[in-house]
């Protein structure tokens, strides 16, 4: 058997590593409303990244 890694997952982790403002990063869908509230405060948008673990 030969197993392959998924390059897209690696690409997604680049973005994860790139973010230096942890208070503006939310990790659960239940926090979508919180994300919208933070976006309203900053006048920005909510960027949702759906990624696949592993």
């Amino acid at each position: 058997m030969h197993r392959w890694s998924w390059p897209l997952a690696a690409a997604a982790l680049i973005l994860l590593a790139a973010c230096s403002a942890p208070q503006r990063v939310v990790h659960q869908a239940a926090s979508l409303e919180e994300a919208q509230r933070l976006a309203a405060e900053s006048g920005g948008l909510v960027v949702i990244q759906f990624w696949a673990r592993g």
Binding site: M1, H2, R3, W6, L8, A9, A11, A12, I14, L15, L16, A17, A18, C19, S20, A21, R24, V25, V26, H27, Q28, A29, A30, S31, L32, A35, Q36, R37, L38, A39, A40, S42, G43, G44, L45, V46, V47, I48, Q49, F50, W51, A52, R53
Partner: protein
């Protein structure tokens, strides 16, 4: 890193929601947003209205540029559709095409992406709209929204487009060979497209494309030219230096031989060597599985079963290995060997 700074800068005023689409707590939102491939990006405003979505992450620069353009003009999707009707412009057509593609409305995506190309060929070339157009057709065929014949016509059109490059031919070839190898499509209807792509694949001399080119040429020899010996030769030539003493290289080559049912005598010896060189653990289980498969192929299912039992000891939680064990036991039982 400079690349990281690009992302940090563009995200400064936005909120990033990082969701594992497979996690139970996120599955509802992933389904609501019609997420089927990863990574998928969805942009919403503070009121929860969707602005755009797209699949994939090419580079920090292109990702940042896309977010910057969307944030500078954050229309909701109905607003963007209305503007495209009244004042047709490249970016609106492109964004709506990418949105439709992410939402698996592939026929609609094709129309928008073609419109984007017609509205501003220069911008369309810069954004490489040809690639998502090709991918739309491929994915649409996979979902039954395009017939294989229709998809073939459009992919041929993409390959014959004056803007088509080696990267397009390589990507289309890779997708089609993947579909063939997974049994999702037969070779014959796809062969003309692969043949059309072949000269462009051969011309892909860029260092960043070379590995992919080699892999496509191997598949082309095996599936289209139906020349297993040529494919074997190309596979051997593609192996990295020192592979014959590297357990991963040995296992990779042996597994390829098994999958293509070629050169199995040498493959068995190489898989055995790989297993000898690999330390205990999941990697050893993989090598033992390769050896078991080839041994079974050679007709010695009892030895294959013993090998797969050793593999399970090395990686007890692996469901695939247990399926293999069941398969070999079933064969032996049917042969009256147990």
């Amino acid at each position: 890193m400079k690349e990281d700074q690009t992302l940090i800068d563009v995200l400064a005023t936005h909120v990033l929601l990082l969701l594992d689409g497979f996690a139970e707590e996120n599955r509802g939102l992933a389904e609501a947003q019609h997420v089927s491939l990863y990574p998928t990006y969805v942009l919403i405003n503070a009121s929860g209205e969707r602005i755009a979505s797209w699949i994939g992450y090419n580079s920090p620069e292109s990702w940042a540029e896309k977010l910057r353009a969307l944030a500078a003009d954050p229309l909701t999707l109905p607003e963007r559709r209305a503007r495209l009707s009244s004042r047709p412009a490249f970016l609106d057509a492109f964004i709506l095409g990418e949105e439709a593609r992410q939402d698996q409305r592939y026929r609609e995506a094709e129309v928008y992406l073609r419109q984007a190309r017609a509205l501003d060929p220069v911008e369309a070339r810069a954004a490489d709209v040809l690639m998502p157009l090709a991918r739309t057709v491929y994915d649409g065929a996979g979902r039954g929204q395009f017939s294989l014949a229709d998809a073939g016509v459009i992919l041929a059109e993409v390959l014959q487009d004056p803007e088509a490059q080696a990267s397009h031919a390589l990507a289309i070839s890779e997708w089609l060979f993947q579909a063939i190898q997974r049994g999702h499509a037969p070779v014959d209807p796809l062969a003309p497209i692969l043949t059309l792509a072949h000269p462009m694949v051969l011309a892909a001399n860029d260092a960043s494309l070379r590995l992919r080119r080699q892999s496509v040429l191997i598949d082309y020899a095996y599936h289209v030219e139906r020349d297993a010996q040529k494919a074997l030769r190309l596979k051997r030539e593609s192996m990295p230096a020192g592979w014959t003493s590297d357990p991963n290289g040995l296992n990779d080559f042996a597994w390829w031989c098994f999958l293509h049912r070629v050169n199995l005598t040498e493959a068995e010896a190489l898989a055995r060597r790989a297993a000898e060189l690999t330390p205990p653990g999941p990697d050893l289980a993989n090598c033992l599985d390769t050896l078991a498969q080839i041994t079974h192929q050679h007709g010695d299912t009892r030895a294959a079963l013993a090998l797969i039992e050793r593999a399970i000891q090395q990686n007890p939680g692996d469901a695939y290995l247990k399926e293999q064990e069941t398969r070999f036991r079933t064969v032996l039982a049917e042969q009256g060997g147990q």
